[in-house]
């Protein structure tokens, strides 16, 4: 009985359910109050592509990213198991694909046969790795783990919350969340036309694991003496790896479906037998590969010759506290959205084009939505690649003699909009909420003459740039709701040597 249930396919299914539940759970736990030291970034750290691409940009294997060696070494021995056993993106696509094919009369044998289209992912990988070698980390756009983490954090979780209203006190909202949700839906809907289209044709991590599994120790083998060429093994094949002919081992996800589907017992997983079929090597054209790597390399000077946060400081690009200098930041950030998920005030938002094309979906603070909580350093502790490096609260607020607080920007008054300055109306909410001690926002009392000739004492606010950390709570709480009268820009941020204004500070 147990032997009947614990077939290879069911074991794979148990793993798949375990990992997808673990993924959702860890991401759900990524918030103040429930994190409590859980390794919430585990999936990103297991991701070999994030590790290798960020290794190529900065020649380091950062902390937890070393965990990806488990997947790399496992793949060398066992083949591309990650895609159907561990990867949440693969599992979601698999579930969607099987639903789409189950209730329609489709020729699954034709759908699951190998197609030359599946070479595309190797060329995409070449483009992104070439970019990485020259110092631009764009892999996060298509790397499935950052992709799915970002989509869930920015679009799926807020969506669930909006329909349920029980996750948060305040509904998290995100800049361009709908766009990310639509992209995820498009990827899932592609399974309607070709099951696991994403995994087979697009996924650069799949391509990397395909390269790593070019000669694994253990594989799927077909016994040519027993096989009757019925092609039933193609019926549920995940990878589209042609188990009915010469298996393309670089495409095989080890879903084990062919073993279970074979009526003759001709397919097994393990070492080869004398009667095992020959297998196909990696099907890519070297010329195409070089061309796409060149294309990636050519993209680079193009990206460097535009105005981005790298080429000149951008006032709206306020990075979370602990972020490394902009050049290095863009070398490390995989746009996974973990920091956006964990931010208690919803201040950290995915950038659209504020930081240039390279900075799309990287984290920036939008102070009208939230602000940087003075005693909070959560974002720096969930970042898997160290783009936001871990800091302590003491370091952030500059506790201790001679220590300076970490600045992420500086607040400026727009005196044409500020109530006490422009309209002689009492306010200084900004001063009340300013979290530093002594407060960075201070006031002077003026005697002002009103329109009717009477006089009144009026407190008018100023910013002390040496005390201001750029946290943005003043901008967030300013009663001028649409565009605040006090606004934070990135100038003076500790991480930058260029983006400074004051000689002596």
């Amino acid at each position: 009985m147990i032997q009947k249930i614990l077939r290879l396919r069911n074991i794979r299914r148990i793993y798949a359910i375990f990992f997808i539940v673990l993924f959702v759970l860890l991401l759900w736990l990524t918030s103040f109050g429930s994190m409590k030291g859980y390794e919430t970034k585990l999936f990103l750290e297991l991701d070999p592509l994030t590790a290798i691409a960020s290794f190529l940009t900065s020649w380091t294997v950062y902390k937890g990213l070393a965990l990806s060696l488990f997947i790399i070494c496992g793949t060398l021995f066992f083949g591309r198991f990650f895609c159907s056993w561990v990867c949440p993106m693969g599992i979601i696509n698999q579930i969607a694909g099987s639903i789409f094919t189950k209730f329609r009369a489709v020729d699954t044998v034709a759908l699951n046969s190998y197609r030359p289209l599946y070479r595309l992912k190797y060329y995409l990988l070449a483009i992104f790795l070439a970019l990485a070698v020259f110092g631009s980390l764009q892999i996060g756009l298509l790397d499935p783990i950052p992709f799915i983490t970002r989509s869930f954090a920015i679009s799926v979780f807020p969506m669930i919350n909006n329909s349920q209203g029980w996750l948060y006190l305040k509904q998290p909202i995100f800049n361009g969340g709908t766009l990310l949700g639509l992209i995820l839906l498009a990827v899932i809907f592609a399974n309607r036309f070709l099951p696991r289209f994403w995994c087979r044709a697009v996924c650069p991590l799949g391509a990397l694991l395909g390269l790593l599994s070019f000669r694994p120790l253990l594989r799927i083998w077909r016994d040519v003496d027993l096989c009757t060429d019925c092609k039933k093994c193609l019926g549920h094949c995940h990878g589209g790896c042609d188990p009915q002919a010469a298996l393309r081992v670089t495409e095989c996800h080890l879903c084990m479906n062919c073993i279970e589907d074979c009526p003759e017992g001709a397919i097994h997983y393990g070492l080869s037998k004398p009667s095992s079929s020959a297998q196909m090597p990696l099907d890519i054209s070297r010329r195409r590969l070089i061309e796409s790597a060149l294309a990636g390399a050519i993209l680079l000077p193009m990206m460097h010759s535009t105005i981005t946060s790298k080429t000149s400081p951008q006032h709206r690009v306020i990075r979370p506290p602990g972020s490394i200098s902009e050049e290095d930041f863009l070398r490390r950030c995989v746009k996974c959205g973990e920091c956006m998920k964990v931010c208690p005030t919803n201040a950290i938002q995915p950038a659209l084009l504020e930081a240039g094309f390279e900075g799309i979906w990287t984290p920036i603070l939008i102070n009208r939505i939230g602000y940087c909580e003075y005693n909070c350093v959560l974002c720096s502790h969930v970042c898997p690649t160290g783009a936001i490096s871990p800091i302590t609260v003491d370091k952030k607020i500059g506790k201790g003699a001679g220590q300076k607080p970490l600045k992420i920007g500086t607040a400026f008054y727009d005196r044409g909009r500020c109530l006490p300055w422009a309209m002689n109306i009492e306010c200084i909410v900004c001063e009340e909420v300013c979290p530093t001690s002594p407060k960075a926002i201070w006031f002077q009392t003026f005697e002002v003459e009103l329109r009717d000739g009477t006089t009144k004492m009026m407190k008018r606010p100023y910013v002390d740039p040496n005390l201001c950390t750029g946290c943005g709570i003043c901008e967030n709480k300013c009663p001028i709701r649409d565009q605040a009268a006090v606004r934070v820009t990135s100038i003076g941020e500790t991480r930058s040597s260029r983006n400074q204004m004051i000689l002596k500070s």
């Binding site: 103040f32 006190l169 305040k170 909580e373 909070c376 306010c427 909410v429 407060k439 709480k477 009663p479």
Partner: protein, 330 residues
């Protein structure tokens, strides 16, 4: 040449014709009725939401007990117990089976030592006293300025209240109901609905410096009942605070002056801004308590317009020295 797509529609009978005509007339009539019913001269329909008013949470005055109890000591729990015992015990204020709402100051993501929020030991002591008076439920709420999860967790209040047997009620965006404060500068505002669900309200402020209003104590603590764009209150802060005290009449006020934030208020942040005063003040007269608290911040009643306004409206008496004050050490 005739068309190859020559499948013909069958002829209809008289009966079918009549039925179809009747059905079409019915659809047309339905459309007309809908149009008539929903015809409107306004572009949108406005739902009139009910506007509530605050109930009076006070209990009947009793001259047997002192108006104010001032207790000095080291142990917060003992001090709160002694103070409330002195003014008649919790049984005077809370009847068995009642729902009690506690309103400490939990505005900021700060630790207890920084004295930006009410001392958790004081809140816990009051929760226990309410439960001992057989309150059915004790809710602790505030509308924080910083992230509420962080404020309640890091102020130590969440933990202390849960251990004492009370319940934290965080206010979500849906928990506000429009309430008429009937004040000079505060009219209809969204107010946390817990104030309408509770039977008794205990105000648990902390004494702090405040840049605009000079001090924030019992009266300004009631600001934490409001939602909406309450930061506009600063534009007319003295009448606004007097309005709050006029609209919301707590059953009891227990003021925490164990640690007093002397400077850089109301956020503080530096231990050097905090002074140890080790005092608890309890009483029913919110204005008297407020005036008593001024001594910790080296202020006088004449400096604080909202206290004078509140007294003029008959909310309480600012000259606490004329009242029956019981002072003691525990």
């Amino acid at each position: 040449m005739p068309s190859k797509n020559n499948k013909r529609e069958p002829d209809i009978s008289r009966r079918q014709f009549l039925l179809r005509t009747a059905a079409t007339c019915g659809l047309a009539a339905t459309a007309g009725v809908w149009g008539y019913v929903f015809y409107s001269k306004e572009p949108v329909r406005r739902s009139e939401s009910r506007i509530l008013t605050f109930k009076d949470f006070r209990v009947k005055d009793n001259t047997v007990y002192p108006n104010l109890a001032v207790v000095h000591g080291q142990d917060a729990d003992k001090m709160v117990r002694a103070a409330i015992e002195k003014i008649g015990g919790m049984g005077r204020f809370v009847n068995p089976g009642e729902k009690v709402l506690l309103k400490p100051n939990v505005s900021w993501d700060r630790q207890p030592e920084q004295a930006a929020n009410t001392n958790p030991a004081v809140v816990a002591a009051v929760v226990r006293l309410c439960l001992e008076a057989r309150a059915s439920e004790v809710w602790v709420t505030d509308v924080s300025v910083n992230d509420p999860y962080r404020c309640f967790a890091r102020s130590g209040i969440e933990n202390a209240v849960k251990r004492a047997g009370g319940k934290i009620r965080l206010t979500t965006e849906n928990d506000f109901v429009l309430t008429d404060l009937k004040g000079e500068s505060l009219k209809v505002w969204p107010v946390s609905s817990f104030y309408h669900q509770a039977d008794k309200l205990i105000n648990l402020p902390i004494v702090k410096n405040h840049s605009l209003s000079k001090c924030t104590m019992a009266m300004k603590n009631l600001y934490g009942s409001l939602g909406g764009q309450r930061n506009r209150l600063h534009q007319d802060i003295n009448p606004a605070i007097a309005d709050l005290a006029y609209a919301i009449r707590p059953t009891l006020t227990v003021m925490d002056a164990i640690r007093v934030l002397k400077r850089n208020g109301p956020t503080g942040g530096n231990l050097s801004d905090v002074s140890m005063e080790n005092t608890i003040i309890a009483g029913v007269d919110i204005v008297a308590i407020e005036s008593y608290g001024l001594r910790f911040l080296d202020l006088k009643v004449e400096d604080i317009p909202f206290i004078i306004m509140a007294e003029k409206r008959g909310i309480g008496i600012s000259d606490w020295k004329s009242l029956n004050v019981a002072e003691m050490n525990v």
